[in-house]
Amino acid sequence: MKMRSKVLAVVALVGLVAGACGGSGDGAQSGEESGGLSATMDGVKEGGTLYVLTNQEGASTLDPQRVYTGAELGAWGSTFTRTLTSYKPVAGKDGTSLVADMATDLGTASEDLKTWTFTLRDGLTWEDGSEVTCADIAYGVSRTFGSEVTAFEGPQYAVSYLDIPAGDYDTGSAYPGPWLATAEEQALFDEAVSCDGQNITFKLQVPVSDFAYTVSLLSFAPVPEAQDTADQYGLKPFSNGPFKVESYEEGKELVLVRNENWNADSDDVREPKVDKIVWQFGLDETVIDERMLADSGDDKNAIVYGGILPENLQTVFGDESLKDRRTDGFDGFVTYTMLNIKTVSCLEVRQALWLALDREALRTASGGPFTGEFATSFVAPLLAADYEPASLVEGLNADGTPNVEAAQAKMDEAKEKCPEVYAKATEDGLRFDHPDTDTWRKNIAIWIDSLGAVGVKINDNPIEASKYYATINGDQGDLMRAGWAADWANASTVIPELFGQGGGFNYHNNEEDPAFADFQSKVDEAKAETDRDAQSKLWKELNQVVIDQVWSIPGSATKSQNLVGSNVRGAYQWLPFGWYNLGAIGLAG
């Protein structure tokens, strides 16, 4: 998952838009807005050029095995990279329904949920008219293992799920990916991912009840071996969707044009309207907002990737004439602060930290209510099936202001119950790891001030942003800043990943906590549960355990706001990706 500029990186998700919304004081208020006319297909015509304006210098990547940004997963998936399964292309909760895409159905699992088979549809074609084969999918999946190229950038589910022995390569697997594998090593992969005509079978080392969701990720997309240019594949990926990459130049533009060899009969998910999509990179954010507000010329056919500048939010949401062009909603992301349970093993201290923290000041520092709402769960509100506001620590102020009295009471309790941790917190101080960014230089001052009120000392440990996750992977502080969104519409990509044993982003050392054994056994139960309702119930209970044990302090369920040109239609928030269904957008007028 990546964050670039104003774009909150959302790794795919999710469910029904939910939750009440906080006001922003005078004038415009933050609240759910779905885009009005621009989200409908009223008056849409075939053809035209859609523009995407962004201040980013380029896409994070166009390489399917490397992309891990929610909006881009949706954008590339809806235009030039098809996968075995996908999401229903509609607004609202229905948009999180999984549907077959290149596969004929949602796959067949063995009884133990460790073998999954998908059958490819007829008529699947690449942009040169050649057939998309099972071997292309297997080859695409194998690229994730080639970390010397794909560089751990995309989701690593292929590595963690596929039944390939552990080994000494950087991924921890005995298979090094297609570029370096010997014949013997390649055989290991071919055992795990095999083809039989139109059928592709995945053998997994663990039971996975929602593997049909896993293969909707672009890291499971096909890549024709003959077209693979390794590190440079992302500059010109080969298309099997309705659009293809005509040109891509970082710092300038990405031009997608219609793929004449896309077979519409083989695709029930995509209904392209425009002829061309042009991403214009590197635009000044102020200029983007002014252009969108002016809504003239080609900008009537434009959308923005990156949201609205905070200083313009009042203008946009205070002007009723913009109602049909604006959106405001959750983007599926939840921020939080991890606690190292090995070093902060005292529950009362952890509760005191949460109670004393001035969450409102933190939110104000990052832009106020438009940036999001105080999170009451580690599962984002958009993941409706698995989301339920948890019961938070007693005494926590709903308005985000600190409750110093309650926090101090917890510290007093801690002094008696766990004097060592109390002494560490008040004398030695707690090390707070965070990326060395402008935002966090501001935030850490708020942490230091508000926790200082109950005698807790914070030792600031800024880490160079590009090394942040790798650093805390090897050496955890006492507190660590993080953010997360589900990889698909199931909290199986949240709770186990962040708090479970072997979770890819579990830096809590929470296996030291007495409550962990029960927690983990319930996680295993939930992962193997095939009844979706029963599974949801378990995720909600597990989220409550995390909240009760304060393994992490939830921050915000973040939101994003957007404004589109007046000719734009079909620009609805596609919930699994927290952005528009790019390939479905059309133009009126």
């Binding site: 560089a151 950038e153 440079q232 992302g234 214009q280 590197g282 102020t286 992977n473």
Partner: protein, 329 residues
Amino acid sequence: MVFFVLRRSFFAIVLLLIVSAFTFVIFSALPADPAALTCGKNCRPEVIESNRERLGYDRPLVEQYGAYMKGIFAGRTYGEEGSSIHCSAPSLGYSYDRHECVTTLIASTLPVTASIALGAFVLWMAIGVGLGTLAALKRGRWQDRVATAFSVIGVSLPTFFLGLIFIMVFVIWTGILPFPRYTGLTENPVDWFMSLLLPWFVLAIISAATYVRMTRNGILEVMNEEFVRLGIAKGLPRRRLIVTYVLRAALVPIVTIAGLDFAFLLGGALVTESIFNLPGLGKLTLAAVINSDLPILVATTMVSAVFIVVANTVVDILYGFLDPRVRVK
């Protein structure tokens, strides 16, 4: 004269070698870790170390510099067999952030910057010298005051501010011009011209302001020279006197500075390119700074240094032609 040119060229090459070594060392000492930048969020410390070894960042700086310089003359292969990328000579490195050979990136951005620099240069020289001459000839009159005011305003205006004002007025509010979107000169000369019009004027106004002052002062100074008074006394026509004698003498130092300014601009008009979204060398450098993309930073710094050193050498050589005393020194 030939010996003079050879000597200057030799020193230019030595200077470039020193600049390249210095640049390489400076950027290698930055806190940004190039090995960490080749690894995504799922990365582990040991993988970063493994990447460091694989990409050669663990080797002594001298060895890294040697490999870099060798790549300039012989090309270089990056990555491992099976997934390697070859960058042909002159290879200035490989950007793992942009997945391109740095030379390719510079080759694609340089024409943009050159287009901006060339047009802006012509405009600012025309405006600066023209207004400066007018101000000098109409000293103390309203033309002089207008030119001086232009000069003061131009010098005071930040590029980004003037750029934004131009965009607001000419693109967004009045719609007279489309938003600049760079098109290559050979692709469509009209679109090329239109995409560069606003950036040219912004740079020209800001740079010309200095040249107005320099030209005005230069001309006024030359006008007091004895040879000018002699010309007037001998009844030389005013136009001929100004154009043939006064301007020629006054412009020598201006041309020298203009040459260096032009070379500096070729290194990238960072702010102008960013405001007008022109994918030139300056914008490439800015993005490299934001992403800590060291191979690009080293290369763009060196390319800029080459422009400056070459321009300096050309100016030195020209001076040698114009003034024999320089050659003797």
